[in-house]
């Protein structure tokens, strides 16, 4: 097989996988909704009978919990699917703007440097990690890129947030790591990179020539 044929086949497989991801995220939610809403209707119509029966209370509680877990995991697949399919426009922004408000340490001067990336996407990732607390970001220049490193205590495995989510959807769905994984998909489509190891993440952004 030639390299061109192999590449074309890989592209086709990617499109198929994207379609499958979309189908899974959308189509599985439909029967889940049916089960969730039917259980709620049943519980409502049985009224006091459920309250009087310990077994019924446990059964309805378990159904509700299971449905919530499934909903959470499907939501993660939906977000990843949308990130894969989202139409992206070329974007860029000053590093100072992207990192404004965070505690940044760097050995080099960042002023005047422009990152070729959607700044809102990076902010969303950093904001998700920071939450209400201060976030310390270490910026390191590496030729035509800048690496932004910060702590993510929830991340327990590498080599990236997306790998972590793929490794354990149940553990990471609905968490900060999910936001980082979705951001990873979007940034990598724009020439960025995201890597991670237990406790920390590095976002690598392409820079305009100085």
């Amino acid at each position: 097989m030639t390299i061109d044929r192999a590449t074309a086949q890989t592209d086709v497989e990617q499109v198929l996988l994207d379609s499958l991801l979309y189908a899974v995220s959308h189509d599985l939610r439909s029967p889940l909704l049916t089960m969730t809403l039917s259980a709620e209707l049943l519980e409502t119509s049985l009224g006091d009978e459920v309250a009087r029966s310990e077994a019924a209370k446990v059964a309805f509680g378990s159904m509700q919990q299971g449905a919530q877990d499934l909903e959470r995991m499907l939501q993660t697949l939906t977000l990843l699917s949308r990130a894969r399919r989202k139409q992206l426009e070329p974007a860029q922004a000053p590093l100072k703007l992207i990192l404004g408000g965070y505690e940044v340490t760097s050995d080099t001067d960042l002023s005047g440097r422009i990152a070729r990336i959607d700044p809102l996407q990076v902010r969303e990732m950093l904001d998700a990690v920071a939450g209400e607390a201060d976030l310390e970001v270490r910026a390191t220049m590496d030729g035509a890129r800048v690496d932004l490193e910060f702590a993510v205590p929830e991340l327990e495995q590498g080599p990236s947030p997306l790998h972590a989510v793929a490794g354990s959807l149940k553990q990471y769905a609905g968490t900060t790591v999910e936001t980082l994984a979705v951001g990873q998909v979007l940034l990598e489509r724009q020439g960025g990179a995201v890597r991670g190891e237990p406790g920390r993440v590095v976002i690598s952004l392409p820079l305009e020539a100085a």
Partner: protein
């Protein structure tokens, strides 16, 4: 006061259609509700919908997107208040639905209370739109 506006539910998932009708019975008990679970009856069932009806139409009908039906309703039956519903709806999908002629578009909620508040709001919005149109005609 609850709405008495006629409602048409178009969904090929019979379970969803029945659940929707059950919720509507508590939100708008006096509103007549028609159901269409057979997409092959479209667009006829839309064109023959009662005057001023709220139409709740699923985004995917037997695997086929229903956006073309939104355009038909917009062009042929502007009196209808068409809302697109979907098990999963992205912001881009919503924008496309509104561009195609839907008055609103929403993801199907995962709890009955959210269904009730969403449907109640949609019916109120439809009533307010009609009141504004009436005012505009009178003015």
């Amino acid at each position: 006061m609850t709405s008495t506006r006629p409602i048409l539910v178009v969904d090929d998932d019979i379970d969803h259609a029945v659940i929707l009708r059950t919720v509507l019975a508590s939100v708008a008990p006096e509103a007549p509700v028609e159901m269409c679970t057979d997409p092959s009856r479209l667009p006829g069932v839309l064109l023959e919908a009662p005057e001023g009806a709220v139409v709740l139409i699923d985004r995917l009908l037997r695997g086929v997107e229903s956006f073309p039906h939104l355009k038909v309703a917009r062009d042929e039956r502007p009196d209808l208040y068409v809302v697109l519903l979907s098990s999963a709806l992205s912001p881009e999908d919503r924008a496309r639905a509104l561009q195609s002629g839907a008055r609103d578009a929403a993801e199907k909620p995962g709890s009955l209370s959210l269904w009730r508040s969403m449907l109640g709001k949609m019916l109120t919005d439809a009533d307010e739109r009609d009141a504004q149109r009436g005012d505009a005609r009178a003015g």
